[in-house]
């Protein structure tokens, strides 16, 4: 009798454990929230949609960084390189080749940035930690300087103004209020997010978290660590490139400042503010950062950066796992208190 009892207890433990893995990737209702808010924003702030589409683009950029930083643990401070590559791919394609169809432009930008990501990643991902960090910064600076040398081609820091793109899907014109741009950005973000979410919960995604958690162990269990890192780096670069393409298309304008170190640093700050390794951290971080930046710069055009700095100091002191981490802790406390 005692034996059968332990077997049942063991079986229950087994079943519980298996259920956890089987169900981990299921969609839960809170995940609808950011998308509902994004749709609601269109109706609540119809005259701020130009700003809104820029927020969505930054969410996508931050999401690309989350894939490598939050999951694979690659600390990269030069991700604007890929954003910039995508931005210039559609700009130059439109200007020099007359290729102005927007959706295929975004895809092309993703491919260009992804291929460059493979090449760059193959070299720099042999290193880790600070060395890798420095190499990613150097790579971004190199691309920017290359664009500067050929400013006859890239427009340099004066940029390439007055770009025109075909109507979206051959039908929707870009309007002054940015309504088309907003739905366009939201649509691309949703598609990209779907893919990223699949990747994160796949065996490949699991292997990435393994690399983040303990790379020595990954080597010793036979994981081709370098190949995995280059793969995810290229995917991330491709997404960053697509975000860059959207940026150019929605602004009809691009300059070499898209490659700025500032841009790389900003997207990392957004992600850390929202919370790394949880996908939705990119949404929260980018939205909160950009809304704060917008409000503060209107309140005080000279001192607004003080406000941003203060917000970051507070975030580091009280929300070291990001705003979502903070929310999670709070939620657990409430759940614990209400439990009998």
């Amino acid at each position: 009798m005692a034996a059968s009892e332990t077997t049942t207890a063991g079986e229950a433990a087994r079943a519980r454990a298996a259920e956890y893995l089987l169900r981990r990737h299921y969609v839960r209702w809170p995940e609808a929230l950011p998308w509902l808010i994004a749709v609601a924003c269109f109706f609540v702030f119809p005259d701020r949609m130009t700003f809104g589409s820029q927020v969505l683009i930054m969410v996508m950029f931050a999401l690309s960084l989350d894939l490598i930083l939050g999951y694979a643990g690659i600390i990269a401070l030069g991700h604007a390189a890929f954003f910039g590559l995508g931005a210039y791919t559609v700009a130059l394609a439109s200007l020099k080749l007359g290729w102005s169809e927007p959706v295929s432009g975004v895809i092309a930008a993703g491919i260009v940035a992804g291929v460059v990501g493979i090449v760059a990643g193959w070299f720099i991902l042999r290193y880790r930690g600070l060395t890798l960090l420095m190499l990613t910064i150097a790579f971004g600076a190199m691309l920017q300087e290359a664009g500067n040398i050929r400013s006859d081609f890239t427009g340099g820091y004066d940029g390439l103004p007055g770009l025109t793109f075909d109507p979206l899907l051959g039908h929707f014109q870009y309007d002054l209020y940015g309504h088309t741009a907003y739905w366009y950005a939201l649509g691309v973000l949703a598609v990209v997010f779907f893919f990223v979410r699949r990747i994160v919960y796949s065996p490949f995604g699991q292997a990435l978290t393994g690399i983040r958690e303990n790379v020595r162990r990954m080597h010793s269990i036979g994981s081709p660590v370098h190949r995995r890192l280059v793969t995810v780096y290229a995917i991330s670069a491709g997404i960053a490139g697509m975000a860059g393409a959207l940026f150019t298309q929605t602004n009809a304008y691009v300059t070499l400042t898209v490659f700025d170190f500032d841009a790389s640093a900003k997207v990392m700050v957004m992600l850390i503010l929202g919370g790394t390794g949880r996908l939705y951290g990119a949404f929260v971080g980018a939205a909160v950062y950009m809304v704060f930046e917008d409000k503060l710069s209107k309140m005080s055009p000279t001192f607004w950066q003080f406000g941003i700095g203060l917000m970051l100091v507070l975030a580091v002191m009280f929300a070291s796992r990001g705003l979502l981490g903070l929310a999670e802790t709070a939620w657990r406390r409430i759940a614990k208190r209400s439990a009998p």
Binding site: A17, A18, L22, R23, H25, S202, F204, Q206, A207
Partner: protein, 251 residues
């Protein structure tokens, strides 16, 4: 018969310091071989040379007849060479179950898949649970590794290596850091390992070595000092001088 693992004339220097000197070692299929030696004898360096963490300055390492000297760690692991670490190397922020599933996934090449969910392969989860059950770890399956006491983590470390289905297994001080009240858990697992696996154990504890090993190699200052059966080693005067005396001193 081809040896499961064969090391020939292995040398490794760090600058002017020769930490491994002309080491020869052969493990037959199913071997139970212990590597002992005083601190700084180069035992862990030798493990690192065998597993490919380090490359030798000269000499060769062969796995079941194939020269693997130039292979990466991962290639060796996929060909059946597994190890445990002297200090746990686990995915501390993941659950015990995920740790096992990761190993099985990499072993079977599932981890190239980016589309299917990691939980979709029921067979992987079942195998992971079977392996945890064998080591009485099922109740901890959903705990994060870092929440487990060190002794239990040590068992996970061994479970991981076994999940690789190795033909050669290197155990680097499996009982290190485990409270003495729990060492028997580890030793029972070590004693009941699959008789087909060739096992090389590095251990300080002489009781463990004499209980477990059928052959012993004593390493001193990077070179093989003497090889023999447990009886030969135990009764050897020189070994007592360089090593056993010291061990008793510690104990």
């Amino acid at each position: 018969m081809t040896a499961a693992l064969a090391i020939n004339g292995l040398n490794r220097s760090f600058g002017a310091l020769r930490v491994t000197r002309d080491v020869d070692l052969a493990l037959e299929k199913g071997a139970r071989h212990a590597l002992i030696g005083p601190n700084g004898a180069g035992k862990t360096t030798l493990v690192n040379l065998i597993t490919g963490v380090l490359k030798p300055s000269s000499g060769t390492v062969a796995l079941e007849g194939a020269d693997i000297t130039a292979w990466s760690q991962a290639e060796r692991a996929r060909r059946g060479l597994a190890r445990t670490f002297q200090i746990n190397q686990l995915f501390r922020g993941l659950t015990v179950l995920e740790n096992l599933c990761m190993t099985i996934g990499e072993r079977d090449g599932n981890c190239n898949n980016m589309w299917r969910s990691a939980g979709a392969k029921r067979a992987v989860i079942d195998e992971a649970l079977d392996r945890l059950e064998a080591l009485r770890l099922v109740d901890d399956a959903l705990k994060l590794v870092r929440e487990l006491p060190y002794g239990r983590q040590r068992l996970v470390e061994i479970a991981m290596a076994l999940a690789q289905k190795p033909r050669v297994l290197l155990l680097d001080e499996p009982a290190a850091g485990v409270p003495s009240s729990e060492t028997h858990l580890i030793l029972d697992v070590v004693a009941s390992l699959d008789p087909d696996i060739a096992v090389l154990i590095i251990e300080h504890d002489m009781d463990v070595v004499f209980r477990f090993a059928r052959e012993i190699t004593v390493l001193v200052a990077g070179a093989v000092f003497i090889k023999g059966t447990p009886e030969e080693i135990r009764s050897n005067e020189k070994v007592r001088e360089v090593y056993l005396g010291e061990a008793h001193h510690h104990g």
